[in-house]
Amino acid sequence: MKIFAYGIRDDEKLVLEEWKSTNPGVEVNFTGYDLTSDSAFLADDADGIVTMQNAHYSRDALEILNKLGIHNLSTRTTNIANFNFKDLKELGFKLTNVPDYCASSIAEHVIVLMGQLLQQQPQFTEKMHQGDFTLSPNIGQSFSSQTIGVIGTGRTGLAVIKLLQALGSKVIAYDIEHNSDLETQGLYADHLTELYQKSDVITLQLPLTSNTRYLINDSAIKQMKPGVILINCAHGQLLDTDALIKGLDSGQIAGAGLDVLDDETSVFGKIWSSLKNIPNGDIRDLLQRNNVVITPHNAFYTQTAVRKMVITAFDSNKALIEGKTPSTIVDLDK
């Protein structure tokens, strides 16, 4: 049995070696390149493909795999939006993903961002680098004194709520579908308005759909408590950046922790010679504020998560090759 893997990064290689040692009957080869029509030939005599990339999977590349007789595809991430299901079905592919690799990783990152803002860490770091070791006026807020609104109570939202409750925060949640545990605890607000009005901090843990795109806009921000802190580790387009900047300027928003940004691909993943060269003016603006903490979409990026992504994808691909149906199979008819 042979598996060929695309887009393998250095930090994945150790885990890959670990998987190989527990699966001695499988020959694994890999490349650091994405799967494209140019690189598809590298898979040559493989039985299955393990992949992960931000770029779209082109029909050309899939057709080459089809000609090579390869029809088992496993992505190492949750995201399957860059596959065209119609292409996959027409060419007879089976696809698996990793439905849950990083709830704890993202939840902990949410706490990192909230903690930095509640404790005014960026201000303290800046003061310290100027030789100023005094406390006043940068007094912090304790998690235990905060009411924290969590919008979206799927896997990640639930993980965030568990951590917040351990930290002593009062949690108020909102979702269209209710989780029965949270329901029993009486955590759900009936309307987003109620959550906006009661929360000192609001974190977004919901998927991006046509209904949720720019959910947090001017009118949502107006309903929030003055001095609210906003956290977004979900999708950049849940938040209207212009409305955020306006809220920060007026003081309505006291701080923002952002692991994702609208139009982030124009900035993240790159090195710029100077802040001035950053093509997106809103992002440039946010980067210069000390009450905004930005991380480059690395909330998911931990050893634990990467290990789970690699192991689950290779296990799933092996199962597909053996003619089994792993639990990670993606329903291409949806």
């Binding site: 903690g115 100027q130 993240f268 480059p296 690395n298 931990t302 050893q303 634990t304 998560a305």
Partner: protein, 335 residues
Amino acid sequence: MKIYLYGVREDEQGYMKEWSNAHPDVELDYTNQILTEETADLAKGYNGVVLLQTQAYTRAALEKLQSFGISKISVRNVGLDGFDFKDLRDLGFSLTNVPVYSPNAIAEHTTSLMLRLLRRVPEFDQKFANTDFRWFPTIGEEINGKTVGIIGTGHIGSVVARIMMAFGAKVVAYDIKPNPYLENLGIYVDTPDEVIEQADILTLHTPLAKRDVHMIDADAFAKMKDGVILINAARGGLVDTDALIAALDSGKVGGAGLDVLESENDVFQKKFDSINDVKDPQFKALINRDNVIITPHTAFYTTTAVHNMVFDSLNDNLKMLENKAPKYPVDITVE
């Protein structure tokens, strides 16, 4: 009744006013200076003093207070290592402290220091400063799945234990006197060495008793796991800083989060013209490392804690002045 407060910061004044409005018959005045032999004169004519400082309370200053007829001292914090109890006894003082003002604040800061080190926040800050927005290869780690060692499980350590368990860590703890509320969790081991040997992340939450000075020394570091993360938001003197610096240099210690330092009184709470003017050699050896996060004794510094520190200390000082039993008397008969 007249109470004088020393070492008052701007952020305490609102809470003092609030307390004052509730006690119109008590006269309050204050200074932002700490209590020294020179500043002791400011308290002349007052009945009680309320203090907060990290510097030692000198015998000379206390003698002056005594000569003004002042015998009631309340501190707005927990730590009493600035007092020589013998001086207090000799001069006939009564003392109260605020033993618990916000265990959550310190526990949260401890958690935050761990997370910032695990997520390599200083390296990302450095990358951003160089306008480098790549996440690769700066891979982070999670508390989830790690073994967290806690030495000291009093008010603060027990909150840390609870938070760490919710994060999915395995907790191993040591205390001379195990906390009965935690014993059924099965987290206690019999010796501090067992905690030191097992921990991926080690955090200290004990007071600075004389026997615990340099509890974490070169021998202790030698017993730790390679790459261990050390958090100290308790007392600077618990860690032998030179041994820590050596352990960071050798790579034995993978990261350190320090809210307190042995020599912090030469640095913290001060305002230098530039960070280069800080001359303390230990501070200089630590500050420019991307696996060390120093916060200038800010762990306690939340609105909840400051409110409780001001209110509890003033309430107790007034109680003593009215010859009533204070809520948090300090036993100064012990050494």
